[in-house]
């Protein structure tokens, strides 16, 4: 790490180290691009997250970067601009592809424009939206005006960007996304197979896809802004509504983030319960992912089988936590209530049942020549691309990228169990498909190891009556069912966070849709979308 610091300092004189524990470096915005390039050359090729923070006197951009070859390495890079009225910062999207959407998001929420970024449209809000909602001076009261017309699609196709001309002046350019006579079809927002309200504008030539332009924001609920005015126990429930298919894991991330910041020690029992719940949730999520993908490929029966078996997990959840999809089970310091006496038995019954069912799934669907013919060699994602796009999780592992947070930075009880990180190296659709079914089996193994060893003791630590997080910045990663889910928390020592941001693994998955799907067919687009298994509310937040 010291070496990296030295390297950065050699590039930029403005570099200062902030934090002792992690490497947290601040650079002047003039040197940002140079520093990032140097970092990239040094192997820091995975941009985990990019967050903008409105500090009132300046606007700060925080980069969380890691190395794909050595994922334990983790650093935070910061830069800021004091021009709050018209903030401009150089883009890093030419270095890390994943920055593309993050920077658009920063523009949408904070009005930060990125120099040389190819596409500075609003990401979530309507093109005619006024104001930048995550600025501290934005009026958050729910305003009455509900638009009556669908927003102007021409405005969506008009792509502005800012560059420097020869004299160093900033010029604004406009390009058109599609040609006039292109056959552009809207997939979504109301479409059975975009897994929510994703809106894809797809340029077609017959059956063949020429270009995809994803449109987000149809389910942008302003969770991050809402959380800024909530106390920590209050806002936990919102995390489950982010990525509702693996709600517990998201909640786990925020709980851990707050617990770590407060220095809370979690009882062992709670950690075990949380791990089992996480894995059950992962199974439920993968089952839905599998079922929906089969449905997308036209096999409704497989869909129903997947949902049928998922109900068993829902039963387990209901019995112990009291909720089906939204368990509301984890709280800061542990879990809300002790496990139900039937819990262990139910889980034990479930494991052999699901193993049997997975065999059936393989016979029914995996072995089917139609399905195989459609999936093999279709939707190739190379490892380099996966890393560049930041596509971690099952999608990244299908391309051979070792990126399981449970292995890299074990949390809860993961360090105490023996499990395999499933890796495939093909990177095509069948790899992404298989990896989910294999991960279900791996999760079953984890649960099997833990279920008999849940230690006795408290299920919840003593927590102060008012939860206050000490001032500072925190970042907590978990491996949710879709990949590397992260919480960035900036606190000023108050009851509510100053800024909170979630790193959504679904967003990067969707950003990969265009490169993966070019020159494939409509049917492939739907199938690849199913295999990437994104959840839209997690993107839109």
């Amino acid at each position: 790490m010291e070496k990296t610091l030295k390297m950065i300092q050699s590039v930029s004189s403005s570099c200062t180290k902030i934090d002792a524990a992690d490497v947290m470096v601040s650079v002047d915005k003039k040197d940002l691009h140079k520093v990032c390039e140097a970092l990239y050359k040094d192997g820091w090729d995975y941009l985990i997250n990019l967050t903008a923070v409105d500090n009132v006197e300046n606007i700060e951009i925080v980069y969380h970067i890691s190395k794909s070859s050595d994922m334990e390495k983790f650093m935070v890079l910061k830069t800021n601009t004091t021009d709050v009225e018209n903030p401009i910062i150089e883009t890093v999207s030419d270095i890390w592809k994943s920055a593309n959407l993050y920077e658009r998001e920063a523009y949408d929420f904070f009005g930060v424009r990125f120099l040389n970024h190819p596409d500075m449209r609003r990401l979530f809000l309507r093109p005619d939206w006024v104001g930048y909602p995550l600025r501290k001076n934005y009026d958050n009261t729910p305003n009455e005006g509900i638009p009556s017309k669908v927003h102007d699609m021409d405005a969506c196709e008009d792509v502005p960007s800012i560059t420097l001309d020869r004299h160093g002046e900033i010029v604004e350019n406009h390009t058109k996304l599609f040609g006039r006579n292109e056959y552009v079809v809207n997939f979504g927002p109301q479409h059975p197979s975009t897994h929510g309200v994703l809106h894809l504008r797809v340029s077609l030539e017959g059956e063949t896809i020429k270009k995809i332009d994803p449109n987000f924001g149809y389910i942008h609920r302003g969770i991050e802004k809402m959380m800024e005015s909530m106390t920590y126990p209050q806002m936990l429930f919102l995390t489950e509504r982010l990525d509702y298919l693996c709600g517990s894991m998201n909640r786990h991330a925020l709980c851990m983030c707050v617990e770590k910041a407060m220095g809370l020690e979690i009882p062992k029992r709670a950690e075990y319960i949380r791990t089992i719940f996480d894995e059950l949730n992962r199974i439920a999520s993968h089952l839905i992912g599998w079922a929906c993908m089969c449905n997308d490929m036209g096999s409704i029966t497989a869909f129903i089988y997947g949902m049928r078996d998922r109900e068993k997990i829902m039963d387990i959840f209901q019995e112990t936590a009291g909720g089906r999809l939204m368990t509301n089970y984890y709280v800061i310091g542990g879990v809300a209530q002790d496990i139900h006496p039937n819990f262990v038995n139910r889980v034990k019954e479930f494991i052999p049942y699901l193993r049997k069912m997975i065999k059936e799934y393989h016979t029914l669907f995996t072995g089917n020549p139609i399905a195989r013919g459609r999936m093999i060699n279709c939707g190739l994602l190379k490892k380099e691309d996966a890393i560049a796009l930041g596509m971690s999780g099952p999608n990244g592992r299908a391309s051979g990228w070792h990126c399981d947070v449970r292995k890299i930075a074990p949390y809860a009880a993961y360090s105490e169990v023996d499990f395999k990180e499933i890796l495939h190296d093909g990177g095509d659709t069948i790899d992404r498909y298989m990896i989910r079914l294999e991960e279900i089996e791996e999760s079953l193994k984890i649960i099997e190891q833990l279920i008999d060893k849940i230690p006795e003791g408290d299920f919840r630590a003593k927590v102060p009556a008012i939860v206050k997080v000490p001032a500072g910045e925190y970042y907590q990663r978990v491996e949710n069912a879709r990949g590397d889910f992260g919480v960035y928390l900036k606190s000023t020592g108050d009851k509510s966070p100053y800024r909170i941001k979630f790193r959504s693994p679904s967003m990067v998955a969707v950003s990969g849709l265009d490169p993966i799907c070019r020159d494939t067919k409509i049917a492939d687009l739907i199938m690849i979308g199913g295999s990437l298994d994104y959840v839209i509310p997690c993107i839109d937040r």
């Binding site: 106390t231 126990p233 209050q234 029966t301 049928r308 209901q318 016979t363 089917n368």
Partner: protein
């Protein structure tokens, strides 16, 4: 040519296997639960959060002392505690519960309220049959007309000592 024929037959074999699985399921007992036919008999998980109710005793008394903690802790203001002042027999004015309004339509079932209630006055029940024709029918008054709070000794009545609840903010 050999590959062509081999592919053909292995393909047909795999297809038949898939059909075998669906056939297997055709004859299996069905998992469908027949709500509403099984309305009386169906099991419900006791912890399932269906609806917030007052924990009433036989004498039509509830435990709420109208401290308003639950309403303040509710993340989206779906609880409203309306109090009124009454004069007790010994001449003191006392704040008691007038109406406890619960907006089922915006409740998120996060149970922050039940966790923060030091008196354990509210609890969850399993009832989930809530669908109505009119949105205003979802706002419910939890304390039945004519009910009153349990008379308790002054020492217990103070809402102060409740660290176990964890979530409350009554120090403020």
């Amino acid at each position: 040519m050999k590959k062509y024929i081999k592919d053909l037959f292995s393909g047909i074999y795999a297809l038949l296997q898939g059909m075998y699985i669906t056939n297997l399921n055709f004859w299996r007992p069905k998992v469908t639960e027949q709500y509403p036919e099984d309305r009386q008999t169906a099991r419900q998980f006791e912890r399932f959060r269906g609806e917030l109710v007052f924990d009433m005793n036989d004498q039509n008394e509830h435990k709420c002392i109208a401290c308003g903690l639950c309403a303040r802790n509710c993340p989206n203001q779906s609880l409203e505690v309306i109090t009124k002042s009454i004069t007790t027999e010994d001449g003191k004015t006392k704040k008691v519960l007038d109406k406890f309004l619960y907006d089922l339509g915006s409740c998120t079932f996060c149970s922050v309220c039940t966790q923060s209630c030091a008196q354990k006055a509210i609890k969850w029940t399993n009832n989930f049959e809530h669908a109505v024709f009119n949105r205003s029918a979802l706002v419910k008054q939890l304390n039945p007309e004519g009910s009153k709070a349990i008379e308790r000794k002054p020492a217990v009545a103070a809402p102060k000592a409740a660290p176990a609840a964890g979530q409350n903010e009554n120090q403020q």
